[in-house]
């Protein structure tokens, strides 16, 4: 039985708890969060122990691994403390808030030899995984242009996500999903050019449009935004055009199940949730892979370096938007 400690008790912790509950060989042993661990445990994993402090959780629980689900700027401290104790880690994306933080995590992982996986869950979303498989199989020839979209509306405060210093805003927190996915499909990024705009409470509505040039000559366009317009649903879309074909996916076109009733019933579409009509959703697949790697010692499919490289593209995009010039990921650090 792989015993997992959750560090963080926010929205992602609930998603992880749901997914881990579906894995036969894994269990959530404990949850740490400064304020809400006990409430979270009562609601989602009554068998787990609640801690206010993650280092106490590390020291007092018998654990195999931890899932780091805390605000981005805390990843460095939470991950390095786990690595120091030899605990395997799955860490939410983005890897860290700064390149220094990412380097510290990479060094700790390498020195401790722990199993580490960056949770770039889009790679495990079935539509995205299938699109990558189609490209790799040569179905569309050589890719030339790829476009992605990831966006949602919200209402009121989103807590630490609103704080650029903690989350890095929409480019580091949301666009990083698609930067990682496109790196996985198309290879390394040569340069990015980003335009960005924001408004509302100190820019909590955050809109970014990034044009990418890949080292193989392909061109990308990553649209990522969150806006304080509550009626806008979560949307994601992907299009890859090659010289011999084309694949496209748009969540708005996918309606395998619709329900209408007396109460307000939405058709399930949000991948963060457990009601998609899939035997295994992306989070289930991601955690199953991680648990498998913890058990067997196999190399996880998304490495610490993948996390670092994808995050570097996002930081280059942030810098491009500030400077009004194209920026190479190399310019923001190795």
């Amino acid at each position: 039985m792989v015993r997992i400690g959750l560090v963080g008790a926010g929205g992602m912790a609930a998603v992880y708890a749901d997914s881990i509950a579906e894995i036969d060989g894994a269990t959530v042993a404990a949850v740490a969060s400064p304020n809400s661990a006990e409430t979270f445990v009562r609601e989602y994993v009554p068998s787990a122990t609640a801690y206010a402090d993650y280092e106490r959780l590390y020291d007092e629980e018998r654990l195999d691994s931890v899932a780091v689900l805390t605000p981005t700027d805390t990843h460095e401290a939470v991950v390095t403390a786990a690595a120091d104790r030899g605990l395997d880690v799955i860490c939410e994306k983005p890897l860290a808030r700064t390149m220094d933080g990412a380097h510290a995590i990479r060094d700790a992982v390498e020195q401790s030899g722990i199993t580490f996986m960056t949770a770039h869950v889009i790679r495990f979303f079935p539509a995205y995984a299938e699109a990558k498989a189609r490209v790799d199989a040569g179905d569309i020839g050589t890719p030339g242009v790829a476009r992605t979209k990831r966006a949602f509306g919200f209402e009121g405060s989103r807590g630490w996500f609103d704080d650029e210093a903690q989350s890095g805003g929409v480019l580091l927190d949301l666009a990083v999903h698609d930067f990682d996915y496109l790196r996985w499909v198309l290879g390394d990024v040569e340069r990015v050019f980003t335009r960005r705009t924001g408004w509302d409470r100190d820019g909590s509505s955050d809109v970014s449009l990034t044009v990418l040039r890949f080292e193989n000559g392909a061109v990308g366009h990553v649209e990522a935004w969150w806006v304080e317009v509550p009626t806008v649903p979560f949307t994601e879309a992907l299009e890859i055009a090659g010289d011999d074909g084309h694949v496209e996916y748009d969540i708005d076109e996918v309606q395998p199940l619709r329900r209408f009733g007396t109460d307000e019933v939405q058709s399930p579409r949000d991948p963060v949730g457990d009601d998609l009509p899939l035997a295994q959703d992306g989070y289930d697949r991601q955690l199953e892979q991680f648990v498998d790697c913890v058990e067997t010692g196999a190399e996880p499919p998304v490495s610490v370096d993948d996390g670092l490289q994808s995050m570097r593209v996002a930081l280059a995009a942030i810098e491009s938007a500030e400077r009004g010039a194209p920026v190479s990921p190399e310019e923001v650090g190795q």
Binding site: I140, T142, G144, V145, R147, G153, F193, R195, R196, T197, W199, D200, S205, V207, L209, V211, L212, R213, G217, A218, V219, H221, E223, W225, V227, V229, T231, V232, A241, D243, D244, G245, H246, G324, A325, P326
Partner: protein, 331 residues
């Protein structure tokens, strides 16, 4: 009064589209065609049951002309029409260079003829409803625009891929429609362009990737993808989409989403495709032009619009050359 129309050059396939639309208009009549290729012109005349003639013969018989030449030849035909006192609707882009486009505007103005540019997307009903909602303040203050105007990959053996005749590839051909929409919605000019481009889809002499990142004078951010990149087997010729993000809402338009899904087992070209059944945008364009000619007013999209849009295209090429954002120069 019935407005007598002629077609000047049929190099662009839209000549056939426009001819069919004009034939169906009640207050217009398609009279004659001139062409730099006599065989092509004669065959066009035969299929639309009109006269083929020399440029002078044709201009002598019509009130207004539609120029469907290759981009580099637009100027010659527009000048001929202007000198003959004939109003002109010119296929887009107005010309490959802003300098020549500007000169055409001056020539038409001093000749006292109307010059319009064929931007039919402004007459898309989904676009018009979006514009009305936008003007009503439905999305608050505009912050960002995302457009696409994709096309299937381009065959090598057309004038579109001959830089001497086209002036360029996808950037020249497929940037101006969405740039025109952005200008029309906002009343703002594009002030800066950054370009990523290349030739990755067809073995052609011009670029087939057209990915632009722009800014409008009021700071609105704006990207556009006008690449010639959809496969031959795609279900439609391409698309025009526009997404407007504002402080209070979002408007999304897919101009050609009103389609039937058609599957044919035994046709010449079997397979599955989409058949558009929405309102004919070209009818709107030509109705506006014909009524402008009759009433002596400017058409919805003027030569000046054409010049400004060509300036954006020129800046886009300059950005591709310099690998950096380029300011768009207006006079």
């Amino acid at each position: 009064m019935t407005v007598r129309l002629g077609v000047l050059s049929t190099a662009h396939q839209h000549a056939n589209t426009y001819a069919a639309v004009i034939t169906a208009l009640e207050d217009a009549e398609l009279v004659a065609v001139a062409d730099e290729d006599a065989d092509r012109g004669q065959s066009f005349a035969d299929s639309h049951d009109i006269e083929y003639g020399s440029v002078d013969e044709v201009l002598g018989r019509i009130d207004a002309a539609v120029v469907c030449a290759a981009n580099a030849n637009h100027g010659n035909w527009v000048r001929e029409a202007a000198w003959a006192g004939v109003d002109v609707l010119c296929e887009k882009p107005l010309t490959p260079t802003a300098e020549e486009a500007n000169e055409l505007v001056t020539t038409c103005k001093s000749a006292g003829v109307t010059l319009g540019v064929a931007m039919p997307v402004r007459f898309s009903e989904p676009i018009r409803q979006a514009k009305a909602a936008f003007d009503d303040g439905a999305i608050g203050d505009l912050q960002a625009i995302v457009g696409t105007n994709l096309l299937q990959t381009m065959a090598a053996e057309t004038w579109f891929t001959d830089p001497d005749l086209s002036g360029g590839g996808a950037i020249m051909d497929h940037s101006v429609h969405v740039v025109d929409l952005a200008r029309w919605f906002t009343g703002q000019e594009v002030t800066e362009v950054y370009t990523e481009t290349g030739t990755r889809f067809s073995d052609i002499e011009v670029e087939d990737i057209d990915v632009l990142s722009m800014e409008l004078a009021d700071g609105t951010i704006f990207t556009h993808d006008g690449s010639w990149r959809q496969p031959d087997e795609w279900d439609f010729w391409g698309d025009v989409t526009l997404r407007l993000l504002g402080t209070d809402g979002v408007i999304e338009v897919d101009c050609f989403d009103q389609t039937l899904t058609r599957t044919q087992d035994t046709a010449d070209d079997p397979g599955i495709d989409s058949v558009y059944w929405g309102t004919d945008i070209n009818a709107g364009l030509l109705r506006d032009f014909v009524s402008a000619v009759r009433d002596g007013r400017s058409p919805a999209i003027t030569g000046t619009d054409g010049v400004r849009e060509v300036r954006v295209v020129e800046a886009a090429y300059e950005s591709a050359e310099r690998d950096e954002p380029v300011a768009v120069e207006y006079e």
